[in-house]
Point group: C2
Chain length 449, copies 2
């Protein structure tokens, strides 16, 4: 390959691919075009910056542009926007500082990420109304809170960002209300886990408005209220976190195919319908290990892993990107909530399963050992095959135990196998039967009925 490996977008997928490709093949020219100035930053850390748990926004940067350039020999060009791709000619057109040039590529990776969805709310442009997707937005929220000392905050959307920002803003002494259109928060976690989180949010003083559609925001220069159909709720600052949409326009205009989720379709190597064009991260699909279907999981590990695999492939060693189990974990004040696989019964039925589920509460340590707390575990399996489909857990400690089920999903384990896992036990760490095993025992009993 004489022409360089060109990467569009300098975040998790792109920079992982760049670093890995250079490490595997130092002779390969690797160019990254990033339209902004930040690269390789931990977007997931931004709520903790607003909360005050992370001092400096720069702390969220894993590797600096200088390190990429000098230590990893990556030709990283910030402030460079790729405005079109010609996959037949194998070139991209780049704009920087008003100039425009064509860059040929041998292989290309699209890592354009996703953006915050912005519903057509009235007053979205008022001061104090934010989404939280970029480092600049995190900075702007922090500055706004410092300058205006809001007494009340409205969070639109009860997903990860909503729950994390509720904690962050409460910690800053602000009264927080969450507005969610659905009957529950944290929809992908299932209703049992959500209920535990919601009770805890209320205990922490967060006001929950479920099944509540926001119409828009009212105020003068700055936001003052959230407008509902027949009510108006005061709010000195607003965070809108109602999901993300993959940035696929550049790819779609170039004839690169999108998949059923609306993100860029890829094969097991992260390849698009053009052989030398890869896509990874929040703009691309990944294969769900439970359903075998394309899925859109805009989370950091999926992006990092796919980027790294594609870097290896482009460097000459074809490497699958790996599937996704849709594993996720979120902190909500003193609780951890986690999920993996297929939990929603309707979704399970759509892909041909007959879901059976149980929800149990089990202690994280034996009753006699100090500090035991309850973990609520929801476990889902297919009735006929007994295959484990997914799980959700929530509690004051132990949410990472979801990893046991995530591993079981990758390995297609059935419930009797899950139940017989030899997991670690000692009183300071777990009861004899880990809560995951207890859930598997109860579910095995239900499957026999």
């Amino acid at each position: 390959m004489d022409d360089p490996f060109v990467i569009v977008g300098g975040d998790a997928a792109g920079m992982s691919a760049a670093s890995k490709a250079k490490r595997e093949n130092p002779d390969l020219d690797v160019i990254v075009f990033e339209k902004g100035e930040w690269v390789s930053y931990a977007a997931c850390g931004m709520p903790y910056y607003v909360k005050g748990a992370v001092d400096d926004l720069e702390d969220l940067v894993a590797v600096t542009p200088e390190e990429f350039r000098e230590e990893r020999d990556v030709d990283l060009r910030t402030g460079h926007e790729v405005v079109s791709i010609d996959p037949e000619a194998k070139t991209v057109t780049v704009e920087t500082d008003g100039d425009r040039f064509d860059q040929p590529y041998g292989a290309m990776l699209i890592g354009t990420g996703a953006r915050a969805v912005e519903p057509p709310f009235d007053g979205f442009d008022l001061g104090g109304v934010f989404t939280l997707r970029s480092m600049d937005e995190a900075d702007a929220i922090e500055d706004y809170v410092d300058a205006h000392e809001p007494a009340s905050a409205a969070i639109v959307g009860g997903g990860y960002v909503g729950v994390e920002m509720a904690e962050a803003l409460t910690e800053r002494g602000i009264d927080v209300s969450i507005f969610e259109m659905l009957p529950q928060t944290l929809q992908p976690f299932g209703k049992e886990t959500a209920r535990v989180v919601e009770d805890h949010l209320r205990d922490q003083g967060v006001e929950l408005h479920l099944e509540t559609a926001v119409q828009g925001f009212a105020g003068g220069e700055h936001v003052e209220a959230v407008e509902l159909e027949d009510d108006s709720v005061p709010a000195d600052v607003v965070i809108v976190g109602v999901g993300v949409a993959p940035n696929v326009e550049l790819a779609a205009e170039a004839g690169i195919e999108l998949g059923p989720t609306g993100a860029i379709a890829t094969d097991e190597y992260g390849r698009t319908n053009y052989d030398d064009v890869y896509a990874a991260g929040d703009c691309a699909e990944a294969t769900n290990v439970v359903t075998g279907e394309p899925d859109h999981v805009p989370l950091a590990l999926t992006a990092n892993r796919a980027g790294r695999a594609i870097g290896t492939t482009v460097a000459g060693d074809p490497t699958p990107t790996g599937g996704t189990a849709g594993t996720a974990i979120v902190k909500a004040f003193d609780l951890g909530a986690a999920r993996t696989g297929v939990i929603d019964p309707d979704l399970a039925r759509e892909v041909g399963f007959d879901p059976v589920s149980v929800t149990i509460e089990a202690p994280t340590r034996p009753h006699y050992y100090p500090g035991a707390t309850d973990l609520t575990v929801t476990l889902v399996a297919d009735r006929e095959s007994e295959r484990v489909l997914g799980a959700s857990v929530v509690g004051r400690e132990g949410a990472k135990r979801i990893d046991t089920v995530a591993t079981a999903l990758h390995a297609d384990l059935i419930v009797p196998e899950l139940q017989n896992l030899d997991l670690a036990y000692a009183p300071p760490f777990s009861p004899v039967w880990d809560p995951i095993l207890t859930a598997a025992k109860v579910l095995a009993g239900k499957l026999e009925d």
Copy 2:
């Protein structure tokens, strides 16, 4: 089956089998003969009783004799010792209060457990020299410490019991020395994990005497010193924890076969060479999921699980006992250390593997998130097949992450599969690449060399 299900031994395996058999088939008569008075107690909790973290020894009892008798309808007879088994006639001979009677059985479970190994040390019978295997011994240690207020303690053996008792006695204000014949403590955890634990033990003021053979104990009525080959170390109390031996004499005398480990040989249903005679728990073998060979893992989960499966089988629904991965976890002051599978390279070679291993240190959370600590992960795989063979981890938090590898062992995953697991990430819980994934990445690289 007209004759009852007779169970010899009322601890984890026996009482799990009794409870489950009655639950599955309430018409079945279930008799448990226990020679002592304690049943169904958490032996693993005893060090925490001595430490003072558990107030009452009775707190360690999971289910009381009355509950077994009244709520679970189990005919539990404490103070009854089975002195012989006649597997041809299908009877056991029982002694109680000097009386002796024969009890016919339809099916029988041997759950006689294990006992502390007692090397022929001089002075083993001195006051203040203890092993820690039974509730009565835990009580006696506690009483001795209260009455004699020892200034110094010697622990012979650097295994689980030794490390846990070092913490417990240090917490009671006693200067602790550990004497271990091998060059390391916690032998089954591998030397990398042991080294981290040993540094921490020393930091906590524990004196370690490795590669040191104890000859015996000296004193008057009470122990005053540990005698080494050419030294004598003062000790006001001594705990000997040099391993356990399965209680197999009763079975062996009856012609029930022992396996290569010296424990009772069983098939996948926990059956011995006699069709109606089962064995489970610390007296029995289990199949190692990595080697496929019989193994002797005297730990609580193995016992509980096998007992439960045998109870189900005897009640009419044949159920495999499940294999063991040899998973274990231990607290050493502020550290947690855990292990699973095959770690020792010599042991791996003995069963035909060509082991390759890496040891890495990785943070339990991103660098920017408060409270991150390092987890040291040792991961072992077979060179040719790339199959994961075992792992060991140690750190101030996150030792339960061993469960991910334990699950991978049960599922025969190879390193590239382990590396591609979709584990849970968010800054309060994990870095993007969980330490287990980081170890897998590094090991995958080494396997390619």
